[in-house]
């Protein structure tokens, strides 16, 4: 399981919080260069990426995207500017063209309430984080 996000931007840390909480699942809290994830997941058959979403749904809402659904997500402005703008969708596209995608890959989004600087996770997001940890550790 790979969590993506920023620890000092409120609910953007949701994916990292899931990675931190896992006990029996191999996990990585990815804060540095996102492309380094590609090297790590080569060794696994199944990879789950967890990141915060901003889709207008209820805070805490969980979105599950299979590999075929991932390409339907809008990746934002067409750029590839390194650490600040490559998200899970671009990462998966890059791995796909390089032929290094794991057999099963899934993206789980947790809808954020706030991306405020320095804020803790909001309550609905904390609850969804706990639910994801429970589910992934017992999968």
């Amino acid at each position: 399981m790979i969590g993506m996000g920023n620890r000092v931007r409120g609910d953007d840390a949701a994916g990292l919080a899931v990675a931190d909480g896992l006990r029996s699942t191999e996990s990585l809290a990815l804060q540095g260069d996102p492309t380094s994830a590609i090297d790590r997941w080569c060794d696994f058959d199944r990879v789950v990426l967890v990141d915060a979403t901003r889709s207008g749904r209820t805070p805490g809402a969980i979105t599950r995207l299979s590999r075929s659904e991932i390409t339907t997500v809008s990746p934002g402005p067409p750029r590839f500017a390194g650490t600040h703008s490559i998200g899970p969708v671009e990462l998966i596209r890059l791995a796909e063209v390089l032929g290094v995608l794991p057999a099963t890959i899934e993206v789980i989004g947790i809808e954020a309430e706030s991306f405020a600087h320095g804020a803790a996770l909001s309550r609905p997001v904390s609850e969804s984080v706990a639910r994801m940890i429970e589910e992934l550790d017992h999968a």
Binding site: G32, D33, P78, R79, F80, A81, G82, T83, V97, G99
Partner: protein, 430 residues
């Protein structure tokens, strides 16, 4: 009157938020602005009232791509204020850390941001479909840069191991040897990169820049030296304010720097190469010669070749330094700064980065001045755009936008750093 406007509202493949606006009247450039709208960052104000020891950790936060440059210029300034010398062993580690940042930052730009321009792709992901091995090399090289930064800096982004006076912890000789295999591969990969990018098609475009960079008699300057220019400037770092000035313009959140009594100047890989190419490491120098760069390079589009040469240099330098690495006797030397002013500079991947601090009797920073490379290059970028666009007014809007965006990316502008800006608009009066 024939008027035509060309605008890019949000520049792609640059770091931070900026735009470009160009207006032609009868095929003459009537107005041109490189706009930085990324919000101001206020770091210089954050530093006031903080202890001098905090400067490297606070300024590292200015940039996720070149934090080592900020840390190095900060510690250089504060150590100069104290009259302290950290000695050669510790300085070598600073240079190793800096080599990691050059490899990481230049590789990101060469492979992910700039090469797609020359190969005709919108981004590196599209490029990877046809050039998977090239992109794989790029990712691995970048990872090696990251690893160096993490190894000597404590983590790959915003390193935490740099302090005024040296480091919190230094690796042992045995630990450092673990980097050798990766670096041996990296030197070869970097030389392959030079050969690859040297084969791209470059527009026939040269400018008579005043190049400004650090120079040091012993080495291709990265972390120390005097400030020199191709027009004869040769000064101590502390003299920067006597020769250069920053000015506010209403269309940019980044200050524009220029020579006092003069105009634009150019910092970064082209400047370093043109001033100091004789000091490159052997394989980097040989690759530069094969690439046909000559002693001086005035075509900004060829900056991708110079960056690749500098990646090779940084890999060779890191490898050689690790071969001779001895565990330093102490990770740092004591430094106390009080009632003093210090100036420091280093060669960030994008060019000269100047810092100045005033520290009060209690060791608190009372004033800070930080001049990043992108703000020094803004005038030069605008002049490039004007000179490039004028004879190309007959190009259609989309083509012209695409080429002008490339002219901006030649500088690998770091807008986040400079705001303390990219969008592109072209207007034509026809």
């Amino acid at each position: 009157m024939a008027e035509r406007e060309i605008a890019v509202d949000y520049l792609a493949r640059v770091e931070g938020e900026g735009a470009m606006y160009l207006r032609f009247e009868n095929d003459q450039v009537a107005d041109l602005k490189f706009k930085i709208f990324e919000p101001p960052r206020f770091f210089e104000a954050f530093l006031r009232g903080r202890r001098f020891e905090e400067a490297p950790d606070i300024t590292a936060r200015i940039c996720g791509i070149c934090p080592v440059a900020y840390q190095t210029s900060a510690v250089n300034a504060l150590e100069a204020a104290a009259g302290a010398d950290i000695g050669d062993d510790l300085r070598r580690i600073r240079r190793l850390l800096y080599c990691g940042e050059w490899i990481e930052s230049h590789t990101l730009h060469v492979y992910m941001l700039h090469a797609p321009d020359f190969l005709g792709y919108p981004d590196a992901i599209a490029m990877a479909t046809d050039y998977p091995d090239v992109v794989r090399d790029g990712l691995r090289l970048k990872k090696i840069g990251n690893r160096l930064v993490e190894f000597f800096g404590g983590r790959e982004i915003h390193p935490i191991n740099v302090k005024v006076g040296g480091f919190y912890r230094v690796p042992t000789r045995a630990e450092a040897q673990s980097l050798v295999d990766d670096l041996e591969w990296a030197v070869d990969a970097a030389v392959r990169t030079v050969d690859l990018v040297a084969g791209f098609d470059f527009p026939d475009f040269e400018r008579d820049y005043e190049f400004v960079a650090l120079r040091h008699p012993a080495e291709y300057a990265i972390d120390r030296g005097r400030i020199v220019s191709s027009e004869g400037v040769d000064i101590e770092v502390a003299e920067w304010p006597d020769f250069f000035v920053e000015e506010h313009v209403e269309w940019s959140n980044a200050l524009h720097a220029r020579r006092i009594g003069g105009g634009a100047y150019h910092v970064g890989p082209l400047a370093r190469y043109s001033l100091n190419s004789a000091q490159l490491r052997p394989q980097a120098r040989a690759a530069a010669q094969r690439a046909g760069l000559g002693e001086v390079c005035r075509n900004p589009f060829r900056s991708i070749v110079v960056r690749a040469v500098e990646i090779a240099h940084a890999c060779e330098e890191a490898l050689a330094t690790i071969a001779d690495y001895e565990t330093p006797a102490t990770p740092s030397v004591p430094v106390r700064v009080a009632s003093a002013v210090g100036h420091g500079a280093s060669e960030a991947p994008r060019g000269l980065l100047y810092h100045r601090y005033e520290v009060d009797a209690a060791g608190l920073i009372s004033d800070a001045h930080i001049v990043p490379p992108t703000s020094q290059n803004q005038l030069s970028i605008e002049e490039d755009l004007r000179e490039y666009a004028t004879p190309r007014a007959s190009l259609d809007d989309e083509r012209l936008k695409w080429e002008l965006e490339q002219a901006i990316r030649n500088y690998d502008p770091c807008i986040s750093c400079a705001t303390h800006f990219l969008d592109l608009t072209v207007e034509r009066d026809t």
